[in-house]
């Protein structure tokens, strides 16, 4: 196990905390806990678990949006999120199997899942245009945070070259999702939205039924 400066992990968790309402206060604690044995660095099994959790969170968000969104472009974006993150998860699982890496749950992965569900429940109460805008805003924030985590935490800590390569291959996908979400966000603001959706309002998702 390599030792990494704990501030890197703290930065990562703080970035993820942006996505997760109510997570910020727990960020420091999560940072302290996330490292194995307090070393502050993530192991490959932990990285695999974070990748799987991050994809799962956005798949569930996409399933909810696929059902609830009213704007056809938002619905299509949601479908793309489900498709792409499912593909990324499948490749992660295949690689983990090939490398004999058993994804290991950790505070960062757990927080992603827990806060993802909380946000999904909260957004699930919104309807129509308010829901569409809240979902797209949350996707912008989420993918920004995930990109930051990939760059600052996951890629630097990945030990296995194939796992590192997978992360490097996934990065442009996340970046494209971010650009796509921003485009939608701007388009919706132009259509008449106020664009005043609070950035704290983050993550949607719900184990909604696929269409």
């Amino acid at each position: 196990m390599r030792t990494q400066p704990s501030r890197l992990l703290a930065a990562s968790v703080a970035a993820l905390a942006l996505v997760l309402p109510g997570a910020a206060m727990a960020g420091d604690d999560a940072a302290k806990q996330a490292g194995t044995g307090g070393a502050g660095a993530l192991s490959d099994p932990e990285i695999a678990a974070i990748v799987l959790a991050a994809n799962d969170v956005d798949i569930e968000a996409g399933k909810q949006a696929r059902n609830k969104a009213t704007d056809p472009q938002v619905k299509q974006f949601a479908q793309t999120m489900v498709t792409d993150h499912t593909a990324l998860n499948e490749q992660t699982k295949q690689l983990a199997k090939k490398l004999n890496v058993e994804p290991k749950d950790n505070p960062t992965a757990k927080k992603l899942k827990d806060d993802g569900k909380a946000t999904r429940d909260r957004l699930g109460k919104l309807e129509g245009d308010a829901y569409d805008r809240a979902y797209v805003d949350s996707e912008v924030t989420y993918h920004t945070a995930v990109l930051d985590t990939i760059d600052q935490q996951l890629i630097p800590n990945a030990q296995n070259p194939e796992l590192k390569a997978l992360l490097q291959k996934a990065r442009p996908v996340i970046d494209q999702h971010l650009q796509h979400a921003r485009q939608l966000q701007n388009s919706m603001r132009g259509i008449g939205g106020t664009g005043e959706q609070p950035m704290e309002q983050m993550h949607p998702m719900q184990p909604g039924e696929a269409k």
């Binding site: 793309t80 498709t83 796509h180």
Partner: protein, 105 residues
Amino acid sequence: MRATLLAVAVGAASLMLAVEADAAEHRVEIRDFAYSPTPLNVAVGDTVIFSNHDPVPHTVTDRAGAFDSGQIESGSSWTFTATQAGEFTYYCTLHPRMEGNLAVK
């Protein structure tokens, strides 16, 4: 009679070979959420192989509805045979920011 039949058969086979020989094969690589090369000029009868090198699926879908690959999974390819002349603008239904152009003459 037999010789005539043989001559006709050989003639037909030659014609088929000639057509096949004239049909060119082109390749479009899908990488980093972009089609390359684009624009691409081909002739009627040519084939275009679209190969997806990204870790997520893409499509090659004509905006006017002339063709649609359906999902091309990561590491897979789709072969398009140009059967009609025209100028086509295609895109990815999953990632609408991706767009390419194909001219069939």
